[in-house]
């Protein structure tokens, strides 16, 4: 038996979704047939509705960021699997707004295929629907691959910015512009210290020896750039930050939003230790932190590890990131 809180592993996702619904009775609705969590006040015809699909196992992404100024609905698939077509079609139906529908999709084949199909069907139904692809992971050098980069923790910033703009009444094209802009200046890389254990699998997804880490790991435990020996935090963070900074590139004078995201099994104390290193290195490079985020945002089940995201902000992005928001993931 796996060491986790689970009953029937196949019911893991529906059971935790039920918990989320019970904990947020006034603000969220839940349709267990389609893993569908939606804002209780959606759809509003004065506002574009925003949907994120993706697999489960990344909580609080994305079911817990349904709320005011964020998503209108999320319809996750099983653990680490894009949702089946039906779920996406139901989500679209549930929050269909006269102002349009925006799909935010992390760039994975499964998600792309299913959201493409759903969009085609919705357009055939006469809906005003568009998609933003998120692909912020610098771990994978896309020149060698035909599938492009993966979408990882950067999706938080896309959601937060377009969510805020949608709340202000921006139209669908404007949201696409904003979302694509944020994605274009967001860069992330992760590192795995341990492998995630999917409930239905009951064992870690892969073997990571006691003294090795996976640099550039994906949020589904996909391999990254290289296996490395565990090293001091300063060295690990140095390598990650270099990869992120060099990619855009970020340079002296830039203002950035920084996220140190935990993969699920790493305590927040360690994440702040990482943040301290990131902050000081950025200062050395002349890069100013405009806003910081430290905690579990886009996780990989119980994996120990972290990712670092930098987003180059301008006045517009900074304003949208600072706008108020409310969601199922909350503290007080």
């Amino acid at each position: 038996m796996t060491k986790m809180f689970v009953n029937d592993p196949k019911q893991f996702v529906p059971e935790f979704l039920k918990g989320i619904a019970l904990a947020n009775p006034d603000t969220l609705t839940y349709d267990p047939r389609f893993n569908l969590i939606a804002r209780a006040d959606a759809p509003r015809n004065d506002k574009v509705s925003i949907i994120q699909g993706s697999g489960s196992g990344h909580e609080p992404a994305h079911v817990l960021v349904v709320g005011k100024g964020l998503l209108d609905a999320a319809c996750p698939g099983d653990v680490f699997s894009a949702p089946p077509l039906e779920y996406v079609q139901e989500a679209i139906k549930r929050v269909a707004s006269d102002k349009g529908i925006l799909l935010i999709v992390n760039n994975y084949t499964g998600d792309r295929l299913v959201f493409d199909m759903a969009q085609e069907f919705a357009e055939a139904d006469g809906m005003n629907i568009k998609t933003i692809m998120v692909n912020d992971d610098v771990s994978v050098q896309d020149s060698t691959y035909t599938v492009g980069r993966r979408g990882v923790a950067g999706n938080f910033f896309v959601i937060k910015a377009v969510g805020a703009a949608a709340e202000e009444g921006a139209d669908l094209d404007e949201l696409v512009r904003i979302g694509e802009k944020v994605n274009s200046v967001a860069r992330t890389i992760g590192v795995g210290l341990t492998a995630p254990t999917p409930p239905a699998r009951g064992e870690p997804l892969f073997d990571l020896p006691a003294d090795e880490i996976e640099v550039g790991i994906g949020i589904h435990g996909e391999p990254g750039r290289r296996r490395a020996k565990i090293a001091a935090a300063n060295d690990i963070v140095g390598e990650l930050l270099e990869a992120v900074v060099a990619d855009l590139p970020f340079s002296s004078g830039d203002r950035v939003a920084v996220q140190v995201n935990g993969l699920g099994g790493t305590p927040i104390s360690e994440l702040y230790l990482v943040y301290g290193i990131v902050h000081e290195r950025l200062a050395e490079l002349g890069i100013t932190v405009a806003r910081s985020y430290v905690g579990n945002y886009t996780t990989s089940l119980d994996a120990a590890g972290a990712s670092i995201t930098l987003v180059k902000v301008d006045d517009e992005i900074e304003r949208l990131l600072a706008a108020p928001a409310e969601a199922g993931v909350r503290i007080f």
């Binding site: 099983d78 699997s81 089946p84 084949t109 499964g110």
Partner: protein, 212 residues
């Protein structure tokens, strides 16, 4: 609705479903090497519904039957495999609409349509290290054998052997599509789970064909 061909079609679909359920762990393990480990789980969750609701699918004709199966699995299988396998069944069914009987040539047409559907949906070419790299060679051999006029059993056995060899041969390919592609050269050295699934299914079809 109780023709020879219909019974054979039901046997094929049921075997695909049963094989997918029986190999959940194995397919998942293969996908964990350079993927995310859910391939076995996804197929099994989709095809267990097919087995559970077996009698409920519209059997007006073979094409309709396959398309109902297509819709059911697309609605249930998450990840890449939902659209990919769903499209394959949908396109194969499209070629057999209204049919109560199917010839060997029509089987090949249906399989070609399935492969083309997969290609259209996922953009993969042969050699990109996907299930196509087992499905297409197996179809090729099946066509050759049926054209030669051997028995269905013999043709199926030849195509199962071809599928197995082809699946094994994906080991040396670098993944260019799907999640495995993110690992670049690190994807070389392990088999493609989708291709193995196709080979395992062909193997079981051949093994159980005569006693069906």
């Amino acid at each position: 609705m109780s023709s020879q061909s219909f019974a054979a079609t039901e046997f094929v679909v049921r075997t695909i479903a049963q094989t997918s359920c029986d190999n959940e762990k194995r397919f998942g393990d293969l996908d964990a090497v350079v993927g995310d480990g859910d391939f076995g789980y996804s197929l099994a969750r989709g095809f267990e519904v097919i087995l559970a609701d077996w009698d409920s699918y519209d059997r007006s004709d073979i094409g309709t039957f396959l398309q109902k199966i297509a819709i059911a699995i697309t609605n249930r299988i998450g990840g890449t495999s939902g659209p990919i396998w769903g499209t394959a069944f949908l396109r194969a069914g499209g070629k057999l609409k209204g049919h109560d009987e199917i010839s060997g040539a029509e089987v090949i047409t249906a399989l070609r349509a399935a492969a083309e559907g997969i290609q259209a949906r996922g953009g993969a070419a042969l050699g990109d290290k996907t299930l196509l790299d087992a499905l297409v060679p197996a179809t090729d051999v099946l066509e050759t054998k049926l054209t030669e006029g051997v028995s269905a059993a013999e043709a199926l056995e030849a195509s199962a052997i071809a599928a197995e060899a082809a699946a094994e041969a994906t080991t040396s390919m670098q993944a260019m599509r799907g999640r495995a592609a993110y690992t670049g050269e690190r994807s070389i050295g392990s088999v493609d789970p989708g291709a193995v699934a196709v080979a395992v299914i062909f193997r079981r079809l051949s093994d159980e064909w005569t006693s069906r």
